[in-house]
Every structure is written in C-alpha cells, then in structure tokens.
C-alpha cells in the first residue's frame, strides 16, 4: 500500500493505492489520524485501492470515530467495486459518507 496527501480547498485528500490489509492497515490508520491534527476535513480517495480487509476497514472506522469526536468531516470517495463490497458486507456502506469522486466530496 502507498499513500499520497494533497490539499484541495479546505480538505486534505488522502489517496491510498494498492491493498490495505493486516500488513498495511496500521500505517493507514496512522496517516489518517495524523491528518486530523492539521485539518478538519479529510477525504479518502479509494480509487486505486484494489482490496481492503476488515483490519483496513477498522482503520477507516477509527478515523471516522476520531472525526466525530472533534467535529471534523471524514468521507470516502471513488471506492472500487471490491472495496465497496467489503464495506457492504461489513454493513458500513451507510455509515460512511461516500462520494463517487473526490470532486463530488469537495463540492458537497
């Protein structure tokens, strides 16, 4: 898994790529939680993520909980089919704010 962070308007866009699994999810968690130290709006670009497992989902959930705690915004964008499927199986697809693209997330 790799990641790239860019500032777009008031948001930090975190673009992950590759597979977020047990091996890489601790890194993903750290990246996301760190973002909230400097911004109050984080959009996760999942378009290049080919697979995510429950530990990766857990990292996203933890970031969501952190956002809720300090009144920040946290959303997911452009999830690929396998990623969507895991969120759906985890019954979390309605829990996260999900956008079709990063731009949709920025204008929302």
């Amino acid at each position: 898994m790799k990641h790239e962070i860019s500032q777009k308007q008031d948001a930090s866009v975190v673009a992950f790529s590759g597979e977020i699994d047990l091996e890489s999810s601790p890194a993903a968690r750290e990246v996301l939680l760190k973002c909230f130290e400097s911004t109050s709006n984080v959009i996760v670009d999942l378009s290049e993520v080919s697979y995510i497992d429950s530990s990766g989902v857990a990292s996203l959930v933890e970031a969501l909980q952190a956002a809720k705690k300090n009144g920040s915004r946290f959303s997911l964008a452009a999830a690929s089919e396998p990623t969507r499927r895991v969120l759906e199986l985890a019954r979390l697809d309605k829990v996260f704010t999900m956008y079709d693209s990063v731009d949709d997330g920025l204008t929302a």
């Binding site: 597979e19 530990s55 857990a58 396998p82 499927r85 199986l89």
Partner: protein, 588 residues
C-alpha cells in the same frame, strides 16, 4: 592463318583445318582421361582446378587461368590459376579484354603474339612481372548458359607461341570442362534441394506433432487438419484442464507457405502453454494477441476461436478473434451461426472485455459445435462449385447419427479427390455434446481438483495467499464477482489466524487446501496454534457499527457452509468453508 604477323584470328571452331591436327587418337585419349578425372568429382572448386591443371599440361602452356561468370553475367572472376603467377581472384569485365570478349561473343581467340594485339591488356603483366607472349582463349558454355572461359598463356617451347592445333585442343577440353562444371553445379543444386526437402519433411513432421492425438469415444472433441501443401497455416488443439473441462482452439494464419506455418506453430504453442493456467478464453486470446503484436511480422495476422467446454453441463465459454462464424447444430436440427466477438489477433493489442475481446457463453444442450477454416467453405467440390456454409450444413445433416469424427470425415471426403488442386488447408473441429453416456461418464471420472498452499502466518504473506485463492477460484470456474467475495472471506479467515490464533507466536504456519468438485469449492484452513473455543467464533454483529468481530461475520455472510473443527493432528484449528459455484456463464 597464313598471316601470322597480324597475330589475331577469330574463328569458328568448326572451321578448324583438320589437316593440321596432330595425332587425333592422342587427343582423344587425353580427352577421355580428363573426362574420367572430372567425372569423379562433384565439388566445383576441385573440378575447376583439376580441369585447368590437365588442360595446361595437355596443351603444354606455361600458365593458364579459368574464369567463371558471376551470377549477373557482368564480371568474370579467376577461380583457378596455373603457372608462375597466381592470379586467382582477379576480376575482369565481360566484353572487355581478350577473355571478356571471348565470353561475350562465345567464340575462341588465338593471339599468336600479344605485342601485335591492340586488345591485349598489359596491366596484369605490369603488376605481376610476367611476360605474356601468346594467348589462347576458349569460352565455356553449357546448353543454355555461358559459364566462363579458359585462357592459356605462352606455349612452353622455344617459340613460346601457340598454334591452331593448340586452339582446337583447348576448345575441346574447354567443352569437357564446361560439362564437368555444369554437372558439379547441378550436383550442388541437388544437394541443396535434397537438404531443403529433408528439412521440410522434418518440419512437416514437427508440425503434425503439434496437433493433439485423437481420443477414443466418448471423448467429445475431435478435429481434422489437411494441409494443401507440406506445411499448414491452420491448426487446432484440445486438452483437458484439471477440473474435467476441455480447452479447444482452432486458428488460421493469414497467407500460406513457410512463414504462415511458423506463425501457426507459435500461436498453437502459445495456446497450449498459456491455456494450462489461463482458464478464461477471452483473457487467453488477449494474452496471445499481445504476444503476437509484440513480435508482429508485417501484415500477418491470425484468426482464432477458442473455448472451454464442460462435458458435465454442456456449457461452453467462447472467444472468437476474427474467425469464421462457429456453427451450433442444436438437438432439434437447427443451425445457429455464432459470429466473431473480436478482430483477428496480431494487429492491435486489445484487452479482454466488451470493448476488446468479448467472451460468449452458451450451452450446447446436446448439440454439436463446429469450427472450421475458410479452406472448408471455400473448398472446391467435384463439380467446381464451392462447398459453402450451406453445403457444409447439408453434409452434417445427412450424417446426423454418426460419430462426430465420421461427420467431419464426410465433409472432408467431398473436398478431396475432386480432381482439382487444393490451394488452402482444410481444418475442422467438432465439440459434441450429444453423446448420451457422456455426462455420466465424465462426471463420474472427474477428478476433484486439489491444491494446497502452506505459508508462514505473517501479515506480509496475506497478499500472496489471496492471490492463490483468486487464481484457484478462476480455475474452478467461479464468476469474477464470486471470486471477489471468496477472496474477501478467505482473506478474513487467514487474517484471523495471523492476528488471533497466532497472537503471541512469531513463527506459526498455516495451510490452505482448496478442493474443487461437483459444483462446490471447499477451503480448509489449518493452523497449529493453540485450539480456540468454537463458541468464541460465532458470528455476532456488534450493536454499534465497528470493526470488532467483523471478519467472522463477513465469512459467514459469503460462504454457504462454515465449520470450525479441531485439527486432525490434535493441535491447532481447522476452518472448513464451502461455497457453491456459480459459473461464469451466469454472468453476461
């Protein structure tokens, strides 16, 4: 002849004055001796040198040279030389100098005294230091071709000058040498022809060996390939993959001849090699296409249809890259044409999928699928008409009830022995789902596919394990979305082993065994970690959305059966998961 001082005399050999010939019988003897020498060698270089040695000896010249014309008849190259100066390799222009004119005009020359001859080229003497006094030159020619010339210099007697008798002698010997060279040329050509024909024979044999051996009934696939010439630009192949399904293919390379045959061999080999692991016909053709495009030979392409037939269900997954439409002869007797789903291979790189190489799924439902090359439909019948698709379907209809191989033979029999020359290869393939005992037989004999993967229980191993699962799903014929789900579920199961079962253990190991049989795919994941109480492994959705226990819930959601068992070895855990297979054919 009286005017020697002119030193120059062009003559027709037939006009030679017989009164001046000395001892004809001696000449004949020499001639026969030389012919005997020349007859034993078929090596050109050797022939030439030997001929010149004998001629120089017989005519008693100080030196001599034998020139051969090059392939374009433009230049003469000295190939053999006798005498004080070796002039081999010297090149003269046809038509120039005494030798050049002699060849151009196909007439002999005698220059009694070169100092009197304006045609004499002094440059050779100047560069070699040899002093030429008198020259004899006779052309060598075969029936239809000029071969070259023999030049002799300086008679080795006191005068150093040649006589007419010497010229006659040289002319006769040059004719014999021409014949010998001509023979050696022919012998050389024959050797090359022989070698090429032997190589062609081996290549033909090699190419035939690429075709699959025919299989006895009730094997449902059979084919025929009948090349028009030695080598075929068509091919067909079929083989079973581990789960009982049969991969088949038929292709036609554009053009004819050796280049087409070699491209055919390459394509057929790619199919056989890649087909063993790539069990999606569209992806297989896309991969072969990429490979052919990478090493494209200008303007050549391949039309090819391939597919996977499941004898147990009658289902066929097809991909057709620019090949003639396939014909399905249904149980009710109707014929349906199934057109190509992609352009020919070797032109443009294309991905598998709707926009590139599309996959078609159909069920033969007791019918037979026919694939053939245009050599069949465009083949000439005895009456001169082309067979055509209608002619093909007529023959198939007439031979209904016969085994598929006999039906194909019936088609071929109309196209051969018609008294006409065939110009195209004839290739046919039949996939027959009509054999009644087939279903039971094959299903009964079907070996379950079993594969195993043992790996260190570490997070860094998860990705490789998932890839292994994904590939197994594809091999078992799972649809793409089903494979995605299975990878998610098995991925969670393995993750649990790493994260929970081996919680405090560094060097744990896990084994995943995958069995594919009778429409199910079964996973057994075994570890040797401390045994976990199955009660703790029941799926319970958390009341608040959150990550806890998610993996187990996902596994139960996706899999049709989930069982926690004690490991057979006594220590460890065994998780058994079963999924009923929805094959690709349900996906459009």
């Amino acid at each position: 002849m009286s005017d020697i001082s002119h030193g120059k005399d062009r003559r027709d050999p037939r006009r030679f004055d017989r009164r001046k010939s000395t001892n004809v019988s001696t000449h004949l003897e020499l001639l026969s001796k030389m012919s005997g020498h020349l007859a034993v060698t078929l090596n050109i270089e050797e022939t030439i040198q030997k001929a010149l040695d004998l001629i120089v000896q017989f005519v008693k010249a100080e030196g001599g040279a034998l020139f051969l014309l090059d392939e374009n008849n433009n230049t003469l190259v000295c190939k053999a030389s006798v005498g004080p100066v070796d002039i081999r390799g010297i090149i003269l222009k046809t038509g120039e100098g005494i030798v050049g004119q002699c060849v151009a005009e196909n007439s002999s020359r005698i220059v009694r005294d070169v100092q009197q001859d304006p045609d004499f080229d002094h440059s050779v003497d100047e560069s070699t230091g040899f002093q030429t006094r008198s020259i004899l030159c006779a052309p060598m020619a075969g029936h239809f071709e000029k071969i070259g010339a023999i030049e002799l210099v300086n008679k080795s007697d006191a005068s150093g000058l040649f006589s007419d008798t010497d010229l006659l002698m040289l002319q006769t010997l040059a004719s014999a040498a021409a014949l010998a060279i001509s023979n050696a040329h022919m012998a050389e050509d024959l050797v090359i022809q022989e070698r090429v024909s032997r190589e062609l024979e081996l290549a033909t044999e090699m190419q035939r060996s690429l075709l699959p051996a025919s299989r006895p009934a009730p094997f449902p696939v059979c084919g025929i390939n009948l090349p028009a010439y030695e080598m075929s630009g068509d091919f067909y192949d079929f083989f079973e993959i581990g789960d009982g399904r049969i991969y088949f293919s038929l292709g036609d390379v554009s053009g004819k001849g050796m280049d087409a045959a070699l491209l055919m061999s390459k394509t057929a080999s790619l199919f056989r090699c890649l087909g063993k692991t790539l069990h999606q016909p569209d992806e297989l053709l896309a991969t072969i296409n990429r490979e052919l495009c990478e090493t494209a030979i200008h303007g050549m392409f391949v039309t090819m249809a391939c597919g996977l037939f499941d004898p147990a269900t009658g289902e066929v997954q097809l991909a057709n890259a620019g090949h003639e439409p396939l014909l399905l002869h249904a149980r009710d007797g109707c014929f349906t044409a199934i057109p190509a789903s992609a352009p020919p291979l070797g032109i443009l790189p294309l991905a598998a999928g709707e926009d590139g190489i599309r996959k078609d799924c159909l069920n033969l439902d007791g019918g037979t699928l026919y694939i053939f090359t245009d050599g069949v439909t465009e083949g000439d019948l005895a009456n001169g008409n082309q067979l055509g698709v209608d002619g093909f379907t007529d023959i198939i209809r007439e031979s209904t009830g016969l085994p598929a191989a006999d039906r194909l033979a019936a088609v071929v029999s109309r196209l051969v022995n018609t008294g006409r020359t065939r110009h195209d290869d004839i290739t046919l393939l039949a996939i027959d789902a009509s054999i009644p005992c087939l279903k039971e037989d094959i299903t009964h004999n079907r070996q379950p596919m079993v594969i195993r993967h043992t790996f260190p229980a570490r997070a860094s191993e998860l990705q490789a394990a998932r890839e292994f699962v994904n590939k197994a799903c594809a091999d078992c014929g799972c649809s793409k979305s089903m494979a995605t789900d299975i990878v998610i579920a098995v991925g969670e199961a393995i993750q649990n082993v790493v994260r929970h079962a081996y919680k405090d253990i560094e060097d744990g190991e896990a084994t995943l065994e995958i069995v594919c049989k009778d429409g199910i795919i079964e996973f057994q994941l075994q570890d040797s970690a401390p045994t976990v109480d199955p009660e703790k492994l029941k799926p319970e959705w958390p009341e608040e959305p959150g990550p806890g226990g998610l993996g187990i819930c996902i596994i139960h959601d996706i899999m049709d059966e989930v069982e926690h068992l004690p490991a057979p070895s006594g220590q460890g855990n065994l998780l058994r998961m079963v999924k009923f297979i929805e094959s690709n054919s349900n996906e459009t």
